[in-house]
Symmetry: C2
Subunit: 224 residues, 2 copies
DNA sequence: TTAATTTCTTGCCATATGACAAGATTTATT
DNA sequence: AATAAATCTTGTCATATGGCAAGAAATTAA
């Protein structure tokens, strides 16, 4: 988690364009760049080769956000998305009475994206706000789109992300119907301990579909 | 809706392979085949051309299911998916106490698919059961996969379906948290009147995350 | 047509969770 | 360090929904 003197998001650009040519020296630099890259972790379980990575990684830009910054606000059209390297992020929508409903909570390794806005060019309903200072890796939709069609392994990997998001959402939804609040909270603590420990209770409660009052009581009950 | 003397699902195969060659006569047949094809409706809002349709449509097979048939049962790996032409379908999972929880209800024009099973080759948690006699258009995963990579317009269209499913699920989930049961039911009646009218109350109730008792009371309240 | 299922409604009571508000505790700001 | 703000806990009471069970209504089977 970056604190205090973190550069503003506008200063931070990855200078990786330089790396893209053929001398051995540069190849070695690229190799090193890939190995040390945070996204190496994200991509390494896919079929994507080193050569492909050298095309893909430079498209991702390291960006630092400061607490309370918005990655996206209601009404905007999403033209990029993010991988979280460090920090915590929430997304929320407003219900008819003006309450903020937490739709998702993100931590290191997660993908932050509003698929429907990005793929359908629709104004988003979601507000995506950084809860602590954050380091993210951002990619523009055009770059994503170009690589999605030109690099089959990237396409498969990204399709996997989308399906994974769908799966996670469905499991969460089913749990919200089938399990009672206490069990949902226990599940969250087990599966996402970092979030359970670092995100304010009211956002977790809303994510679980209950009030902060209820969650506080549940916590008390569990600790006994 | 097909009834009574409907042929069993095993008899029904589309004989469309025959259409794929070049004589004018055959071209005319193909044109006619495309124009009258149910899936023409599904694809016509995409960028897919007639030529591409002549490659795509023959991969979809017309299948008839009879009331209470299962398209997919828990533990199986999904190797195909369906478009619904007519009839009503439910998908459900079992919760820890053995209750059936309706995850989705499908009607004409909908896509029936368990993305996570199909794309990750995982045994599904879902049971997909036909509630009335049904006509569906089935496509095998291999065919989908081949066309997904070889026909960019098809890929975009199918990506759109996936994103659309994600969007629908998210809206439904948000509604389950933000709106009370009565409003959710009213929304269903407005957005999917065919389902509200034709699917037994207990499945609708479960889909809305409440009991049939509650939904019955809500109905009464609304009618007053 | 009659019987057997399935589906839907309704009453009674229990309970999980919400709404509101007051304090306590922790964190941020000056 | 002092003050302010945000976060968390806890009490009281209200209410939406669940669990169970009985009966009515509709659909299906014999």
């Amino acid at each position: 988690m970056v604190k205090g003197t973190a550069p503003s998001r506008h200063d931070v650009r990855c200078k990786c364009q330089d790396h893209r040519n053929k001398s051995n020296q540069k190849n070695k630099q690229m190799q090193d760049y890939i190995d040390k890259h945070f996204l190496n972790i994200v991509f390494k379980s896919s079929e994507i080769s080193k050569d492909e990575l050298s095309l893909i990684l430079p498209k991702y830009k390291r960006v630092v956000y400061q607490k309370n910054d918005y990655l996206l606000a209601e009404g905007q059209i999403e033209t990029k998305y993010w991988f979280v390297e460090s920090g915590f992020i929430r997304s929320y929508v407003m219900d008819t009475e003006g309450n903020e409903i937490t739709v998702n909570l993100y931590a290191s390794g997660d993908v932050v994206i509003d698929y429907s806005s990005m793929f359908f060019f629709l104004p988003t309903r979601e507000n995506i706000q950084v809860l602590t200072d954050c380091v993210c890796w951002e990619i523009a939709f055009e770059d994503f789109h170009e690589m999605f069609h030109s690099i089959p392994n990237y396409r498969e990997q990204q399709k996997g992300l989308l399906v994974g998001s769908y799966y996670t959402l469905k499991e969460h939804y089913i749990s919200s119907i089938a399990d009672e609040a206490k069990d949902r909270y226990i599940k969250l603590v087990k599966e996402k301990p970092a979030i359970a420990q670092n995100v304010p209770l009211k956002y977790i409660a809303s994510f679980l579909g209950i009030t902060d009052t209820s969650l506080s009581r549940i916590r008390k009950e569990i600790s006994n």
